[in-house]
Symmetry: C2
Subunit: 202 residues, 2 copies
């Protein structure tokens, strides 16, 4: 007697993750039903519960996995001692990493409010770890005299917001390549934090 249908392929787990990321990014967590995810994967809704205890945990695991990937990728990159070089590396890394995972990035910003408070705290802790890396670079640059930044925490938030914004408009195949975009943003970041040679109007 044959199985009726469904994947039975042994790779349903990853397919659930992929389908959930895409659907959550497109429609939002609350608007996506377990049935839709199941249809996308090619199984029935009930079968999803072999891979996640519930919908909330599915969202949490996606966000946690994304943040751990981010921190892992950063950890693999040796950080230059020179603050200016470290800042350039951070800038290019952030743009590239976020460009490669637009959907996970989108969810990580948009669906935080759909996490339970306990789950939210975990994700926020991971995010803070990432932000602290940029803040450390800025503080070292201030100490060395390379940067002129009165409020490293604010500059950290400003730079990250600016860089993450690339995902809202950049599309492959447009007028500019990603390396060109990286260079433009790096020049803006560099000028924004560098020690100025003379003051301007303002």
């Amino acid at each position: 007697m044959a199985r009726t249908q469904g994947s039975h392929s042994g790779i349903t787990g990853p397919k659930v993750r992929e389908a959930a990321i895409r659907l959550f990014a497109e429609n939002g967590y609350a608007a996506v039903s377990m049935r839709k995810i199941a249809t996308e994967v090619g199984v029935q809704a009930g079968a999803l519960y072999n891979y996640t205890p519930d919908k909330q945990t599915l969202l949490f695991d996606l966000l946690k996995g994304h943040m751990e990937e981010l921190l892992g990728a950063r950890a693999e990159t040796p950080a230059p001692d020179d603050p200016a070089r470290a800042l350039e590396q951070f800038t290019r890394f952030h743009i590239r990493f976020h460009h490669e995972r637009p959907e996970a990035v989108f969810i990580s910003y948009m669906e935080l409010r759909n996490l339970t408070p306990e789950n939210f705290e975990v994700i926020e802790g991971l995010r803070r770890q990432y932000e602290d890396q940029l803040e450390d670079i800025l503080r070292r640059g201030v100490a060395s005299g390379a940067f002129d930044v009165t409020e490293p925490k604010i500059a950290t938030m400003a730079v990250i917001a600016m860089l993450t914004g690339v995902n809202t408009w950049f599309r492959e195949g447009g007028r500019l390549s990603l390396p060109e975009v990286e260079e433009i943003y790096w020049q803006m970041v560099r000028k924004a934090v560098m020690a100025s040679v003379g003051s301007n109007q303002g």
Copy 2:
């Protein structure tokens, strides 16, 4: 014979808008039911349909109202001829205006995907009108030699993303006042786009 309950006050319309903005911001459009909005207002769900034909139109009207308020407030402010002064004014205006309406701002960024395609186009058109104002300032500054910006469109997106990011972390009563934050951001924006006196490493 007296009315059973409900507002009957003649101001239910504004209360519906306010409740919807707050609840959509807190929980997301899809996660908020008409019943929840009605409870917040103090009426029954059916009464809401005296004020909006459906939930989608309610969301659309909120976003459209917000964008029109934004453009209206800009239009009331006389724009300086000098590009640097115009940029400073834009920077401070953006931070202040967005600070005063955190919930509407949040919805305007998060709930775009829950608009029908036709409604989305309308909101995007209004947003583009606003962005074009900054882009014009940057182009004028490049023409006058005051700014060093190779890609005004990208700089526009970068500056707006950076400024809007204030809403994600700034809280009244913290270490810094809003005018202080304005000043810090203005200095970063100014340095990022100003014509540099000498080049750096990078």
